[in-house]
Symmetry: C3
Subunit: 673 residues, 3 copies
């Protein structure tokens, strides 16, 4: 099931008419239709309305909403409403509410509030999904199921503790193996009874949020929580499938969100959909990376941009407006990176409660006479005109970057060497260096086979701290067979249980990289050193400085003057089999990363484009036809070198190869001739 | 009942002799009398002493203290001691202690520690007040009752939850109305049973201290808490009145303190009294505003300065000394803004516990040979000489600023648009602009009638975010009838339940202001824009930038270059009926506010004075006689233009209109000839 | 019992082989022996292994480890393992886990996790120590007992509350005395029943971590907690003594660690041992002071450096490597200040859990071919060659600085005058001024007799806030008999219960100092003033400025221009009897402290040396023979003036008095000829 079945770029968003009188509904339909909006995501937080008490269900309002949308030719993404439990459930069964990191059982409040292991929540959640599927699953215009909403968070209740022990038994079979996996002997934590194990919150083994007496326990608890919520998703999915065998099923993800192992989740999802909410100062490259990660979850398949704001958010510290043209540019940026839908949170702005200042297609002004509405309507027209042309396109990447939630969790639980070392930041530094050259990137998981990776010239794995079983073997085979591979400092350190590979870093990758890292120095933020490439180019470096011994690799760069490891190797390359393995032993400044990427470009002759900061050129290929996306993310006009001649699908005009002028926030989708 | 009944400026403060042996008491009397101190506030935290166990009362020590004071011709402000529960009560009835925002029931500790809805606390609190009134209410020198102390804080216990539901029933009558008022449908919060509603703390709907899933619930809980404590006050007041029908009753307030709706409280108080504790870097204008707010609570009636420190505080991060002369200047600043008493916390410095380093008239040195004592004594002499001359004066203000606790709460619960937007800060920016011109200001509530406002040339309502029922109508009538009115960005947004007025900002004020605010941009702190007045004067602006459409108003200033809304209106004026309504769509720099105020001065010809920073000229009028107060709040000498000829009541010297020299911290009270 | 019994500088560290297979053990022995390591500290966190269930003990693994070490000629420091309770105990007896400052009973997790007053913990802790002593106490190579580990923290459980009341009864005998001691009348806290008293955590009287409604209660609770843990230590010590009458017993302390009154603890310890973990930016003088404090605990007796890292830590924010030579320099710095052992945490790096990145002699690389190992081995050779020459040396100090945990606690509970005032920081400022002149310092407790102090030319007591009974008398006698004494602002303020001495600061020291401090001004961090010595030298000053009246003292320095107390005395000297008493009424800049110290040097003609920053010259005297230690703590080479001719015990070379060159991190131990 793919987004290709859409008849055009799906255009719509969250719609929540229950808080309004009927006359508003009718007006909404008129206004939204003017903007060529043809989809509504409904029923996201309606459990309390659908099931007003334990004994009673009431679908009358939802029936009316669906009728309204159907009469107005809207396609529907139908949510299951299980993202927030109703108040009566919290009152009657207090254990459905979560127990937090501080150890406190919550009362009714908030959303995303259910203990994922509560039998009551699980039973009633499944039952609600089942009733919805039975009632609405056959409707033609219900084109997608949306289970719950933005899964995430943790619960540390006693019931979760029990289920965690079950999860542990399934994974480890014996307590001896648990003790070994977690190295519990350290600090005398040896467990002799399963019931001695508790969730690692502030009442247990946590040392603050990012640290723990036993990192292995904390990592396993994150795995368990991700699995528990995935089970909630699967529960609902499976019950929907009993009534509806063909409508795709998704839930909305959140980019680099830490809590859930999205690669594992995506296996259970028909489509990936996600919510894109950059802050005013989020780098363009970060948004691009997030899109690519979401595309990567299902091996490059197009995804749904389930939510973005038409203009303003409300929960950021500083909720700036999207500038005129910016929402359009951001929509096409999503499309350029793999989106086949453009959806908003939300179609009508809420009149009260915490998100009332979140932007909407129809604002509090309640009129189509707003800048934001006009821009939306204009985009709607464009998308309508595009038809199916952009749908289903694939990104032709020769470079892949590994992203792995186990690594994310494990690296950030590590006590030492440097508190400023953060996983996503390290991934983004490498992503951004390729992005600056407009080189297409696939975000991939750790567990691909050498064969699956063989389509890439290069695989980059920043801070590949945890090397899980089989990973080193596949990477080695990939390189031997002609692949090229980059890792950085803090790689090859621990196994899947967070126990160190003894015998010298980077552990199971030592032979592949041809280096032994004897020590890693941690630099405080006020300290910067410098490195020097063989061609004498220099770059700042900081955060971590590895002390490296060559074991077959050759030196690409050394530490410059100033430290006791001056003149020793910092970047190395090991030529092995038909490929090569590059080790980067420090955090490079952007200029160092750019130098490295340029060397790689020279070597591999990848398609790449020089553009001013914030202007991207991206490609999607569909049945051999390449579309070139040009997106100016900035509010400045620029002149760029354009690589192909063809027709701009948006303006209908010819664009010739060579210098072209790009207006602020402008976009082109050029079909190569 | 007014402060006018005092025979001179009341001069005294908190006195807590219980911790000292008798010989100290007698010495205190001698020393204090030397300083012309004629009042003592006693019995503030003596519950444990007065009622050593549930079964027993013991007034012997209090009798002795009162005898002592009476013999020494002191007037007495008698506190009821209910500001801290005794330890035995917390032990026997744990529920009298509060449950905090984290959901934790406290044990014995601290002060202001009683759950306001605890029946035990309420019963024993009333009983204590009743016994005190019965025993001491007829004493001639008990000139004021002081109920409890610095009411404030919150409780989130189960008993409060129950009482909150009662409060809600009284205010809403049905759950449907609650659901509508709080827009609970959002995030599926619909309540079907009153008992599903919980206090909004961290275990419930709070999202941090300043945010909440349901802002309407959080605002109502603040109203409920303010009302609950007010009920505690009323309980004691009413029982005192059974025994003492004429002594004025007060409790000490705290300026712009957030927790309590002081306008509502003041209705139940005979006199307003308050505690003035600026930090070393509190702007002089902020202290002035606080005084004016306290005066405004009872429509301009003089207030009691119940507490100030003779020199040093102890609970600030940096407790600097008041410089020589500074305490005197601050005392007269209070008087200039409406105080008829000058009182200290405290007469004798405590020997132990948390406030032991708080300044006092008699310090740890235990002598009258200190700078602080001498300055106090000298002030005492001056006040004695002043007699009744200053008492009862009224401030002749032509400008009013609206201050409203519902707005304070609602604006700060709002999620978005900018976390740096704070209510009191916005009020103070406008206050300070008038203060810099020495223009008299009244602080008024939102609910005055057009008639009540008609005495003002101008009413200013910064961030009038919440417009409660009737307010728009009265403001419109006020303007139509010739009044002038200013509001800013983030005004006219929500109704009394925090639900947005649909149809375009500023909602019910749109017609009055003659503008439609389509969008508001939020600026991060590193961003500043500029505006340009019609006369080409420029000013910085930041925080929020409204995008404004004129609907009858004319433009006073536009955004300058740099943003997509450049050249659009930012300050507008709507001439309507006999008056005008000015809308300020951004946070102006001080230079912009000064420009605005100067334009208004030109228009209205208000009495105003140009003085160096920190030097204020203030007026109070009594029976047609105007006293001109000159206060130099700074430690620098300056030359100023003095507006009137007359006699300085403090020095007895003639002061002529024209240039005069003002020494550091100097003060004059000139009776106009 | 002294370290002198060691046959050479003991060289070893923590060894934790239980997590490794046997082949690793044998290899470890070979590698460690190469480094001349001759000691292992074992069994620190093995309770769960030694007692796998309540019913069963199992010493087989420990037997094997001890056999291994014995066969390989290692000396053993045997820990009792009670620093972390086993999981089964927490599960079966939840009350053995602590209740925290937030009032939450913890579940199993962490270490240092036992409630010190839990009868179960106390019984089983004693029993374990007893079994260990019975089994291993007679072994020749068990040269020291190491009870528990790094005692510290607090518990606030109900059982502690009960024991606290018992402690209070023992100390106060009556509630009246408690009420008086804590000045409970303030804020109406009078207790009429012992059971009304609760531990001062967030549910009780705490106002944040560093403040409290009743400081006296909080100080007493700290005393009680320190005593409770000391009782845990004494429990184990006494039971060991039943089986082993002669092996010295210690526990590892932590320098200026706040929680425990180490002077009181040291009385119960045969040897002081401590763990030295400076951060990358800890001043050298701070480390030196910590060593001197540890030496001072037992009146100058040599101590054990129980733990330091061979190179890297893991729990600092930025865990930099020790530079080549730096570990050696830091080891000798410890020895120069009194250490007779050099021990590491740890001999082999852990493979998992929170400290896995903490450095070790044998790193994860599992080889002797590392920089760190080689430096360790080289140091081992040197220490082997030194033999007993350095052991038992005493520091010939003529200057003492008072350090007192009661003062530490009381000063930091004080609310006011300045939040930036911290006890250890104030002590360190004075220490550092002497350190910069290489003047030997003894750190002494408050309660020495005049006779005990008489060996010092000078006793310095920065911020001697709390003056306990007898202290003023002994200090006065000391000065009268010819001693010299310095105190600073915030001295002589409170008695042992934190009640202010009434009658003028510095209370009981007023006569001795010949000054009366009328007021103390608190300066915010942006404010600095200047003082001027009699010779017109100036110095910055800040934080606190006392306003001083001379009462016999003469002025050494006055405040310079700028404040109302300009030209008044700020540093004074009172000549009394045969001695003198200097009062420093502000926080001096380093230049002011240097000026003061130079004046004292001129006066007393102390042995002192001018050296570049970070290079220290230190002396230890043994049976009349003086060893001069030269330690370059920096990575820079310098030329210094060397004071004596003799042989460098490390290089065997002659060193002549006069200019010598000192390489980066270089060390000499010169035996004076």
């Amino acid at each position: 099931m793919e987004t290709k079945q859409f008849k055009r770029v799906l255009f719509g968003g969250d719609y929540n008419p229950e808080q309004w009188p009927k006359e508003v509904w009718y007006r909404d339909m008129q206004i939204l239709t003017k903007a060529d909006i043809n989809e509504a995501t409904i029923n996201v937080f309606s459990w309390a309305q659908l099931q007003p008490s334990e004994e009673r269900y009431n679908f009358s309002t939802l029936d009316e909403i669906i009728n309204l949308l159907t009469e107005n030719h809207f396609q529907i993404i139908l949510a299951t409403s299980t993202g927030a439990v109703p108040a009566w459930m919290a009152k009657r069964y207090p254990e459905v509410e979560r127990t937090d990191f501080q150890g406190r059982q919550h009362r009714f409040g908030g959303r995303h509030n259910a203990c994922p292991n509560s039998p009551i929540f699980r039973m009633y959640g499944r039952r609600l999904a089942s009733k919805l599927a039975e009632r609405y699953g056959q409707l033609e215009n219900v084109i997608c199921w949306h289970i719950s909403n933005e899964y995430g968070g943790q619960c540390y209740c006693d019931n979760c503790a029990k289920m965690f022990r079950v999860w542990l038994k399934r994974h480890y079979s014996s307590l001896d193996k648990v003790n070994e996996a977690w190295n519990t002997h350290f600090w005398g934590h040896t467990f002799y009874d399963w019931d001695e194990i508790f969730p690692p919150n502030e009442l247990g083994d946590a040392i603050g949020v990012d640290n723990s007496t036993i990192a292995g326990l904390s990592i396993d608890y994150r795995r368990f929580m991700s699995d528990s919520m995935l089970q909630n998703y699967v529960d609902e999915r499976d019950t929907i499938r009993e009534f509806d065998s063909k409508t795709p099923i998704t839930t909305n993800l959140m980019g680099t969100f830490k809590d859930l192992d999205y690669f594992k989740w995506a296996k259970e999802m028909d489509l990936v959909s996600w919510d894109n909410y950059p802050a005013y100062n989020t780098p363009y490259s970060f948004t691009a990376m997030s899109h690519d990660l979401m595309r990567g979850l299902k091996n490059g398949a197009p995804f749904m941009l389930m939510e973005q704001t038409p203009s303003q958010q409300n929960w950021q510290p500083f909720n700036s407006l999207k500038r005129p043209g910016q929402m359009r540019a951001m929509s096409y940026q999503a499309m350029a990176h793999g989106a086949d839908t453009i959806q908003y949170f939300q179609l009508r702005q809420s009149r009260g409660a915490t998100e009332k200042f979140h932007g909407a297609v129809i604002s509090h002004a309640d009129t189509d006479n707003t800048r934001v509405f006009k821009e939306t309507a204009s985009l709607g027209k464009e998308l309508e005109a595009l038809g199916t042309e952009t749908l289903g396109g694939r990104t032709p990447a020769k470079v892949a970057i590994i992203f792995d939630w186990d690594n994310y969790w494990a690296l950030e639980y590590a006590s030492g060497p440097n508190v400023l070392l953060k996983y996503v930041d390290q991934i983004h530094r490498y992503y951004a260096a390729f992005y600056r050259q407009n080189i297409a990137i696939d975000m991939i998981p750790t567990n691909l086979s050498a064969k699956q990776m063989s389509k890439y010239d290069l695989v980059v794995a920043p801070v590949l701290y945890m090397v899980k079983p089989g990973v080193a073997e596949q990477l080695t085979k990939y390189v031997n067979d002609g692949g090229n591979f980059i890792i950085t400092f803090m790689s090859g350190i621990v196994d899947e249980h967070d126990n160190v590979y003894i015998g010298g870093y980077p552990g199971p990758l030592r032979k592949l990289m041809g280096v032994w890292v004897e020590e890693f120095d941690a630099l405080p933020p006020e300290k910067n050193y410098q490195i020097k490439f063989n061609d004498q180019t220099t770059s700042r470096c900081n955060l971590i400085c590895d002390i490296i011994h060559l074991e077959g690799a050759e030196t690409l760069a050394t530490y410059d003057k100033g430290e006791f490891y001056q003149n020793t190797p910092v970047i190395t390359q090991n030529n092995i089999g038909a490929g090569s393995a590059i080790y980067v032993g420090t955090q490079l400044g952007d200029e160092g990363l750019d130098h490295l990427v340029k060397d790689l470009i020279n070597r591999f002759d990848w398609e790449h484009y020089k553009t001013p900061t914030g202007i991207e050129i991206t490609r999607r290929v569909n049945d051999g036809q390449t579309l070139y996306y040009l997106v100016n993310n900035t509010d400045e006009t620029a002149t760029i070198e354009w690589p192909v001649s063809g027709v701009d699908l948006l303006s209908g005009q010819e664009v010739a190869e060579g210098k072209i002028r790009v207006a602020a926030f402008d976009v082109k989708i050029v079909k190569k001739r």
